[in-house]
Structure formats: structure tokens, C-alpha cells
């Protein structure tokens, strides 16, 4: 999935490790993308609209309030049953938490991007906050529906999970 400081992954289901960040920056991962199928009806997944004829699609996750964040971003097929790619990381290393999806925008139609993890407070002090901001961009600009923020009070730790369906138009 990513273009970040990490090596290309040829498998459709790479192993998760935060330490992969230390690896050298190389080309985006090639993902075997199955043909788009109709999504299951019974879901409430928000939609991010990408341009089918546009450039590469990137995703980025950011943690506010200078808190500790640990995350995994996954790319799923339209049904959400098959994981096609995965990347993990932490907010405390100097590597940007930004990935470029290797499939074209047209190939990504109806696919799911899911991000999950946890924000940890650095101390048990009261009245702390957290924020997790997830952005989908294409050609360097945000896409409609592609900006998702989750904020709230933070006591010790807070897990999070978000999901978007990419729809190419």
C-alpha cells in the first residue's frame, strides 16, 4: 500500500510490524486488486469519493495533542472480507505516517480503507484530550468525504477504529 520509508511488499497480506518504518523508502506496494463487486447492503460505511481518472491515492494518519499513537491501516476488498495490504506504525518516530496506495484510482473503486489502533497518554494527568485525523488525498488534495477526525477526552488510553469506502467517479 504505502509510499513511505518502507520496502515494497509483493504479497497481498504483509505482516504487521511497527519496526518496518526503519526500512528504506522504495516504490509503492503492488496489490492484486480483485474486480470491484457490489458491496454488502447492510453496512454504514462512510464514502470518500476519488476521481477515477485522477492520480495516485494517498492516506495519512495524524495524532494530535502530542500523544502517543499506534496504528494499523488496512486495505480491504469491497466485501471487507479479504485484506489486501496492511501497514503499521507509531506516531513517535520521525517517519511521516503517510502512504500511497499502489492501485490506480479506478482499481480502488468500492474498496475499503480501515484504520485502527490506540492513543496513549504520556501521563495519568487529568483533563487530557486526544485526536486522530485520517485523510485521503489524491494529487495532493483532499477528496470529498476523505477527512475524518475523532477527538475526545483521554484517560490513560483510547482505542480507535475508522473506515471509509473509496468510490471512484
Amino acid at each position: 500500500m504505502p509510499t513511505r520509508s518502507r520496502k515494497s511488499k509483493q504479497t497481498t497480506k504483509p505482516k504487521t510490524t511497527a519496526k518496518t518504518k526503519a526500512k528504506a523508502k522504495t516504490a509503492p506496494m503492488l496489490v492484486a486488486v480483485p474486480k470491484a463487486e457490489a458491496a454488502p447492503a447492510a453496512d454504514d460505511v462512510p464514502v470518500a469519493t476519488i476521481a477515477a481518472a485522477g492520480g495516485p491515492v494517498s492516506v495519512e494518519i495524524a495524532f494530535g495533542f502530542a500523544q502517543h499513537g499506534k496504528y494499523t491501516i488496512q486495505l480491504f476488498d469491497p466485501a471487507g472480507a479479504t485484506e489486501l495490504a496492511r501497514e503499521s506504525g507509531v506516531s513517535t518516530d520521525p517517519i511521516p505516517d503517510r502512504f500511497t496506495l499502489s492501485p490506480t484510482a479506478r482499481q480502488l473503486d468500492r474498496h475499503l480503507v480501515q484504520w485502527s489502533g490506540a492513543v496513549d497518554a504520556f501521563s495519568p494527568a487529568p483533563a487530557q484530550q486526544f485526536s486522530v485525523i485520517f485523510d485521503v488525498t489524491q494529487d495532493g488534495a483532499g477528496v470529498p468525504g476523505g477527512h475524518v477526525e475523532k477527538t475526545g477526552p483521554l484517560t490513560v488510553t483510547q482505542a480507535f477504529l475508522g473506515i471509509l469506502r473509496l468510490v471512484a467517479k
Partner: protein
């Protein structure tokens, strides 16, 4: 009792002996001081210790810069402190604190860190770590408080603004590599499928949060054990204003308080050996604090309801030896009061004591103190034993960060 260790049992025996001594102390009217000039405070000290659970402050000096200087200068311990999490919350709080005529109401107590309030959402860990200016701003706290006059006939309204910042902080948890690694290494489960419904996502979040919490708390605890005595230098300032009528147009400057506190960690280092990193063993902390307050309105003992202006200054020091759960404490303070009318006085106080954690929420603390000088009415010939106190409480007498 059978669950208690022999160490704890021994301390309980010591406590019983102390309790007996204290009862005797009360009955003999502080006979061990040999001083008939014992004031009411001494008698109060001889009363039975508060029940466990009541916060106890045995060692009297507060040598840290107050977290909320505005509350400190007004002498408040507000029950409801608003800690706004968004600029909108702050605006709402301030607007709610103004009546229809535009006058401030009493009872406002607001405390916030401006960096996290106004720019926290976009503040990443790397922004913070890479900029000393950001770190300094992040460790700056602003407080704002109002308080009404102390008596029914007193319509006055007091207002204070406080700023506190830690200029140097060796104990900043965000900059502690060991803590960062500890948090980095806590695993977190990854869903094997996409969670397509909100209910499924909520359930995953709740489960993952609950599972992760003990491990994160373990990292916090390890950090506290390692860095409880971290060195730091903090300063605080709080100007205040008073309106005798309670109306905003009548506010006049009512003095400022300034604090500065330097803490130096005492540790022993064990050099790195082959394969093992260097070890640091914290064993104590030395704190030196200076404070100054001008134009303080002090109640006149001789004339009921009257006040006089006074400037005061003090320098205090505390040596704490031990660990986060058991420590011996020695404190001293030199304080000088300079009333606008009358002569200035200087007092010197010394106290020593200790504290021990018996269980997770149970501390035993004891202290003995002596004071010389002070106001003319309390003038004594030399150092006198002013108090011998002990208590069980949920909190230690000297809070260790």
C-alpha cells in the same frame, strides 16, 4: 492482618506507640515543649489524627510553584475548576461568568494549557519533540479565578490571573525514551476483516481500550518510579485586582505573587557494563523555592474587620531522601513579613519527618517542627517544638510527582 507483611506490622506497632505518645501529649498540655506560650495551633495538633481517607498535610511548606497561581493568590481551593478542552468551552465559561450588566461574577475558576487548548488537535508528537519553544509553551498553564468577599457585608470581588511555566523539565514524559519505547512495544490487536457496522466498530474499540489500559498504566508506573525526583525549574506569577463594590468598573490592582522553584534530582549512576545499559538509581530530591507577594491584605488581629497592607517574601528548601513510596523529609524556610505600618518581622522554621506507603492507598506520615520569630505576639526566645504529628491518609504528606 494476616495478609500484611512483617514490615507493615512493625509500622503499625510504631503507629500504636505514637498514638499513645500523642494521647499523653494532649493530656499534659504539650509538657514536652516546656513552653507555656503554646498557641492554639499546638493544641489543635494534639487532636486525634483524621480518619484514613482525609487528605493530610503534615509538612507545612509547599515548595512547588502552584499549578494554578490564580487560585493560590486568592487562597482558593475551588471545588469546580473548569478545564476547557476547546476554545469554545473557554469562551462559554467566560461569558457565563459575566452578568447582564457586564460585571464579573464570583466563583469562576478556569485552568488551561493554551498550547493544547488552541492548537492541540494539530500538535503532533514530532512537532513537540523537535521544538524547545513548543515544549516550553506546552508546559505553560494559565489560570483565572474570581472570589467574593469573605464576609456577608463584604461585597468586594477579587480577581486573579495566573501563569505558570516549567522552564526546564528533566521529567517531561514525552521526552523520556524509555517511556516511549514502553508504549511503542505494547501490542494492539488488528481486525482480520473490515468492520462494516458502527456497532461492530464500537465493540472493537471498547474491547481494545480495556485490554490495553493495564499495560499503559504499567508504563506510567515504571516512569514514575524512574523519574519521580526529576530535576526542573518552574516559575509562576499571579497579579490580582479587587473591586470593593463588586462592580467591574471599580477594579483596582491588589498585588502580585511570584514563585520560583528549582528541583534537583539526586541519583546514583551505575556505569554501563558489557551488554547492559547504564543504570540510574534515584534516591532523593532537593527543592529550593523563593516567593514574593506584595500588597497582601492581611486581617488585623487587634481590630475586628480591619485589614492592613503587607509585603512578604520567603525562601524555603526541602531535602527528600528515599524513594517514591518511602522517604525522609527535612524542610526549612525563612520568611519575612513587611507590613505597611509597623516593623518587619522574620521567622525561621525547620521541620523533619517521614512518610511510608503501607498499601496502595494508605500512607503513614509523621513530622516534627520548630519555629523561631514571626509576628511580635508570637515572639519566642528560641526554637520551640511546635508540633509532633502523625497521620494515616490516602495521600502522602509530600506529594511526589
Amino acid at each position: 492482618m494476616s495478609a500484611l507483611t512483617s514490615n507493615v506490622r512493625a509500622w503499625l506497632v510504631v503507629l500504636l506507640v505514637l498514638a499513645s505518645c500523642q494521647a499523653l501529649h494532649a493530656e499534659t498540655g504539650n509538657a514536652e515543649t516546656g513552653n507555656a506560650d503554646t498557641d492554639n495551633k499546638d493544641s489543635k495538633d494534639a487532636s486525634p489524627p483524621p480518619a484514613p481517607g482525609t487528605p493530610v498535610k503534615l509538612i507545612t511548606l509547599d515548595l512547588a510553584v502552584p499549578d494554578s497561581p490564580a487560585f493560590a493568590i486568592l487562597g482558593l481551593s475551588p471545588e469546580t475548576v473548569v478545564r476547557p478542552s476547546t476554545p469554545r468551552d473557554l469562551a462559554t465559561t467566560v461569558l457565563n461568568g459575566v452578568d447582564r450588566r457586564g460585571n464579573l461574577q464570583s466563583g469562576l475558576a478556569v485552568d488551561f494549557a493554551p498550547l493544547f487548548l488552541f492548537a492541540g488537535k494539530e500538535l503532533t508528537y514530532n512537532n513537540y519533540k523537535s521544538s524547545r519553544g513548543t515544549q516550553l509553551y506546552g508546559r505553560t498553564q494559565i489560570s483565572f479565578a474570581t472570589a467574593k468577599g469573605a464576609t456577608d457585608g463584604d461585597k468586594s470581588l477579587r480577581l486573579a490571573l495566573g501563569v505558570r511555566t516549567t522552564l526546564w523539565d528533566q521529567g517531561d514524559p514525552r521526552l523520556d525514551e524509555t517511556l516511549v519505547t514502553c508504549l511503542d512495544d505494547i501490542p494492539i490487536p488488528v481486525p482480520t476483516t473490515a468492520l462494516l457496522t458502527q456497532a461492530a466498530r464500537d465493540a472493537w474499540v471498547a474491547k481494545a481500550t480495556a485490554e490495553r489500559r493495564p499495560a499503559v498504566e504499567g508504563c506510567h508506573k515504571a516512569f514514575k518510579t524512574r523519574a519521580w525526583n526529576a530535576s526542573s525549574f518552574a516559575v509562576g506569577v499571579a497579579p490580582s485586582w479587587q473591586s470593593p463594590t463588586g462592580e467591574s468598573k471599580d477594579f483596582a490592582y491588589a498585588g502580585t505573587a511570584v514563585w520560583a522553584s528549582l528541583a534537583l534530582g539526586l541519583s546514583m549512576s551505575e556505569p554501563a557494563t558489557s551488554g547492559a545499559p547504564a543504570q540510574v538509581h534515584p534516591f532523593g530530591q532537593l527543592i529550593v523555592q523563593g516567593r514574593y507577594r506584595n500588597k497582601e491584605m492581611v486581617p488585623d488581629k487587634n481590630t475586628k474587620g480591619a485589614f492592613f497592607d503587607q509585603d512578604s517574601a520567603g525562601v524555603g528548601a526541602r531535602l527528600l531522601l528515599g524513594a517514591a513510596d518511602r522517604a525522609v523529609v527535612i524542610e526549612t524556610q525563612v520568611a519575612r513579613q513587611s507590613p505597611k505600618t509597623g516593623s518587619s518581622t522574620t521567622s525561621v522554621s525547620v521541620s523533619g519527618g517521614g512518610q511510608l506507603r503501607l498499601a496502595s492507598d494508605l500512607w503513614v506520615s509523621l513530622s516534627v517542627g520548630a519555629t523561631r520569630g514571626g509576628s511580635p505576639n508570637e515572639q519566642r526566645g528560641g526554637f520551640v517544638l511546635s508540633s509532633l504529628k502523625w497521620a494515616l491518609s490516602r495521600e502522602p504528606a509530600v506529594k511526589i510527582p
